[in-house]
Symmetry: C2
Subunit: 201 residues, 2 copies
């Protein structure tokens, strides 16, 4: 089964991984903005030009191969939607993602720490979520009741809010790593509304 991949693709994948490792390490040492692509590529033994063949942008070396973007979330979400409310389904879907990420806790906290040192990086991270949102909104939209005129908007709100909760939980966890578990942070984030807005019911 693996033979079908061919050695070329396997080494290519390995190079992507090595680049990601080297880059993360250098970013931790000297900072993202202070580390030009030149240094990453030479540290990995390739030319700058080749770097841009593996990753379209410098940011991508951090974000491209991350779980939330590589896992098929629509499928997961569809499954949860069959037995949960839209909001709960989003909660569980992103909770599942968090569970998978736990196997790489160390890498994640390193990455989040790097991301939070640079404004441009934070923006790039947000863009990842915008892309994810475009995938999830069409899955949620048909499940919403109420007037069609507002359900399109509410689907957007639900998905973007869910990703915001997810993101906020992770940032908070990365900053207070010793005080709280990832999954607890995610659960607290997703249940904030039911606790904090009694008047709006």
């Amino acid at each position: 089964m693996d033979e079908s991949i061919g050695i070329r693709e396997r080494t290519r994948g390995a190079m992507r991984g090595e680049l990601a490792d080297v880059a993360l390490r250098l970013f931790e040492e000297r900072g993202y903005d202070e580390t030009p692509v030149d240094e990453i590529s030479t540290a990995a033994g390739i030319s700058p030009r080749t770097f841009y063949r593996y990753f379209g942008t410098k940011e991508d070396v951090l974000f491209a191969d991350l779980p939330p973007t590589s896992v098929d979330l629509s499928e997961l979400l569809t499954e949860h939607l069959s037995r949960l409310s839209p909001w709960e389904a989003l909660h569980q879907t992103l909770r599942n993602v968090s569970e998978r990420m736990q196997t790489q806790r160390g890498r994640w906290s390193r990455l989040l720490r790097v991301v939070n040192t640079s404004d441009s990086l934070r923006a790039g991270h947000l863009e990842q979520h915008m892309n994810l949102a475009q995938t999830l909104i069409p899955v949620i939209a048909p499940q919403l009741e109420g007037p069609a005129s507002s359900s399109a908007l509410r689907a957007r709100v639900l998905v973007h809010t869910a990703l915001t909760c997810f993101d906020t939980a992770f940032s908070h966890w990365a900053e207070h790593e010793s005080d709280i578990e990832i999954l607890d942070a995610v659960d607290i984030a997703f249940t904030t509304f039911s606790d904090a807005t009694p008047e709006t019911r």
Copy 2:
């Protein structure tokens, strides 16, 4: 009272405004990525170097002088918090911002249309909100009940979610300008949770 400003600052402000106008117009015509700073500055009769004295980055020419960043939201929020729940206070605060923005409806829809044509711009726009969040979170945090360990996280979630609702409402409005009013969109966005998550109570 206005005399204290001095003509220099007044003309400087005028140049900022003119640059913003010229830039928005050019971005509409040729697109953001296809319009180099050279063209904006020459169209406004200044050198590229001087452009970067008025705006630190090319993005800033779109975002820097916008109401949500120039109005003092902390003050507004503090006032609402004295008689509303945190979530409702955030809702009303951003509703007030939306009301002020209505006087520039046309400019806003033009701007949002430009922003939504470029991924990098959308991310930059979100970053404006990240900065706002840093201002609002300390205002909300002391109002939250419950264990201190989770209230810091919940304050972050509430503020980021509020800004997400605000942002989503505006994007939706910009795309369906004829179907919905800004304030209605904002209200729908902010009341999405109370309607859509009965199970989580």
